[in-house]
Structures are given as structure tokens and as C-alpha cells.
Symmetry: C2
Subunit: 111 residues, 2 copies
């Protein structure tokens, strides 16, 4: 398990799993519009055909908010939600306990 | 718009839209296991073939947690996530401002 997990829930957004794609946007505690802008830029200036919004734990609600604002306000009509996956990750925390955290991946595609 | 909205975020779980099915479980601030138990009971004692987990705003993260624990720990191998939908609802709050809240519907089905 990557040692970043040990730094706890507040650092979830700093975790960048190896093998992650450049068109993934990880939702964390930064200002809301940072994430919306990152997604819009992927589709516009970076010409991505697909963007994956990823979040864990308490940031899952925020990921849905970010997705809704990006897709329905800023990119209205030009992108759609292709797929949503939920899952769990287990890891051992500093105190040696097994901890489970939920995850979400929201795949946005260009229409 | 239903006036329940006016009582604010903390009462999201008390909102039961008309036309909602009996096999829907609305996630709110009650103890976590209440919701897990409600889902497990739907599939076991009530013999439902499908259960819809619904949440809004900050409770979306909790809905994913509840779903993961119900489906992977208590009902392991016997239910699957069939579909996940996200959306938004707009309403006017007490102060007369237009407010947007994200929603999630997670459909669990018996295998």
C-alpha cells in the first residue's frame, strides 16, 4: 500500500496512483472552481475526448457537485456522463487498523 | 417546490418525493447501520429484487459508503450495482436565492 495513505483523509487528493491517466481529475479540498476549470480545460485547450473525475471518502459528494457544474453549466450539451463506478479501498492506518474508504470514478465524454 | 426544502441541508433525508417507491432507501444523518440494515432487510425479509439508494448533497458520500458495506459485506455475492445516476435539483431557499443540490441514485439488484 502506498505510504501516502498514512497521512490520512485530508490528503486523499494528493494521491496519484501509478498508472493514472493524465485526463484524470482528483477531487480534494482545494477551491471548488479549480476542479471545474481543470475539467473544462481538459475538454477545451487539451482537446481530451474523455475525462475521469476521481474521489474518495468525503470528497465523493464534492466530485458529483464538480461534475454537475462542469457538465451542465460550463460544457452544457457538449459532454455527457458515460459511466460511474463506485468501489472500496482497504488499507492499514498508522494505528495498524484496517480502514475502508469508498471511491468513485465518473467518466465524462465529449458528445 | 416542496416546502421541506426550506428546512435546509440537515433535513434532506426527511424528503420523500411523491411517486417514490417503497424499495427506495433515503440516506441522511441517522446512524450508519440503520441504512445498511434497511437495505439488507429489503433484499431478505421483504424479498425485493431491486433497491434504490438515494441521497442528496453532503449525504452522497455516505450513500456510497452504505452501498459498499451492504453490497460487499452483508450481501456479498448476492447483489450487484445495476446503475448509478447523478443529477441536480434546483430550488429557491428561504432567502429567495436559487440553490442547486446534487443527487445520486444507486440501483442495487439481486444477482
Amino acid at each position: 500500500m502506498p505510504e501516502e495513505f498514512e497521512s490520512g483523509m485530508d490528503n486523499h487528493e494528493t494521491i496519484r496512483p501509478s498508472g493514472g491517466l493524465d485526463n484524470s481529475v482528483y477531487i480534494g479540498p482545494k477551491p471548488f472552481m479549480n476542479y471545474v476549470t481543470a475539467i473544462v480545460m481538459q475538454f477545451t485547450t487539451k482537446n481530451a475526448s474523455e475525462v475521469i473525475i476521481k474521489a474518495r471518502g468525503k470528497f465523493i459528494s464534492r466530485a458529483v457537485d464538480v461534475c454537475e457544474v462542469a457538465a451542465k453549466r460550463f460544457l452544457e450539451g457538449s459532454v455527457s456522463v458515460k459511466d460511474i463506478k463506485i468501489g472500496s479501498e482497504e488499507f492499514t492506518n498508522k494505528e495498524g487498523r484496517q480502514v475502508r474508504v469508498s471511491t468513485i470514478d465518473i467518466v465524462l465524454i465529449r458528445n
